[in-house]
C-alpha cells in the first residue's frame, strides 16, 4: 500500500500497553499533568493513588472487527499505563481529572501546609 512500513497482523488482535506522553508543570499550589490517551472513553479510565504512586491506566476502544481486514497500521490496539511517583506534598483528596478530545488533564493540589504563606505583619505603635 502507501508505504513500505507494514505492521499488519491478521486475526488475533494484539494489545500493547503504551506509555502515554505527558506534559507536567508545577506552580505554588498545584501540579498539572496532561496526558494523551486517544480512544479512551471516560468509563475505561482508571486513576489511582497507592503508596505515593499515581497510576493512570486506560483501555482504548480500538479493536479490530473480525470480519474486516487490517491493511496497514502504524499502531496496535492499545491500552495505556503510566505511573508517577508523587511526594507527600499532594493532597490525595483534592485531585481533579478532566478528559477532553483524548487528552486527560489532572490537577493535583498541594496540601495547605506546604503552600507558601504570606505572614502579615502587625504594626504596633
Amino acid at each position: 500500500m502507501a508505504t513500505e512500513k507494514n505492521l499488519t497482523h491478521n486475526g488475533n488482535a494484539q494489545r500493547t500497553v503504551y506509555v502515554p506522553v505527558a506534559d507536567i508543570y508545577e506552580t505554588e499550589d498545584l501540579y498539572s499533568l496532561k496526558l494523551e490517551i486517544p480512544g479512551v472513553p471516560k468509563e475505561n479510565l482508571d486513576i489511582s493513588i497507592e503508596e505515593n504512586e499515581l497510576t493512570i491506566s486506560a483501555k482504548s476502544v480500538l479493536d479490530d472487527a473480525a470480519v474486516e481486514k487490517c491493511r496497514y497500521s502504524e499502531f496496535s490496539n492499545m491500552d495505556y499505563r503510566r505511573s508517577f511517583k508523587i511526594g507527600n506534598d499532594i493532597d490525595s483528596n483534592k485531585i481533579e481529572a478532566k478528559l477532553e478530545n483524548g487528552v486527560l488533564t489532572l490537577t493535583l493540589h498541594k496540601h495547605e501546609k506546604v503552600k507558601p504563606r504570606k505572614i502579615s505583619i502587625k504594626q504596633i505603635n
Binding site: E36, I37, G39, P41, K69, Y72
Partner: protein, 135 residues
C-alpha cells in the same frame, strides 16, 4: 533449520545506520504524526487516526483522485508555567494516503471522537467489477 547468512548481519548494521540518520532531533517536525490505520471491509475502507487534542476545525481532509490527504495544525496549549516535562507534539502535520481504489465521493464520512478520527469511504461503482453481457 537455520543457515547463517552474512547478509542478515549486514542488514542489521544497515538498520542501525538508518535509525541513526532518521532519528528526530529537537526542532524537526514530527514526521510520523498522525498515526493511521487502514482497515478494509466489503467494498468499504475505514481510516482511523490518532489525533489527541485536536478539534474538528483544526483538521482538513481532502480527496484528490485516489489520494486522501489529512492536514492540520495542532495548536499548543502550553501555559506560562514552569514545565517539568514537555513530551507532547504540537505543530502542523500532513499525511497522504493512497487509496487502493476509487471511492464514492458522496459517501465519505468523517468523525472525531475521544481523539480518534475515523474516515469511512465506500468503493465507487466504477471500481466494482462489472459483468459485461455478450450480445
Amino acid at each position: 533449520m537455520y543457515t547463517y547468512s552474512f547478509f542478515d548481519d549486514a542488514m542489521n548494521i544497515r538498520d542501525i545506520f538508518d535509525e541513526f540518520f532518521t532519528r528526530r532531533t529537537y526542532n524537526e517536525p514530527y514526521k510520523d504524526f498522525p498515526f493511521v490505520r487502514i482497515v478494509e471491509g466489503d467494498d468499504k475502507l475505514t481510516i482511523t487516526s490518532l489525533m489527541p487534542g485536536l478539534k474538528p476545525e483544526d483538521i482538513d481532509i481532502q480527496l484528490v483522485n485516489e489520494n486522501l490527504t489529512i492536514t492540520g495544525d495542532k495548536k499548543t496549549d502550553y501555559e506560562e508555567k514552569p514545565y517539568l516535562r514537555k513530551e507532547r507534539f504540537f505543530g502542523e502535520f500532513k499525511k497522504s494516503i493512497k487509496l487502493p481504489y476509487s471511492v464514492d465521493h458522496n459517501k465519505i464520512k468523517a468523525d472525531l471522537k475521544d481523539g480518534i478520527l475515523t474516515v469511512t469511504l465506500e468503493k465507487s461503482d466504477d471500481a466494482k467489477p462489472k459483468k459485461i453481457e455478450i450480445l
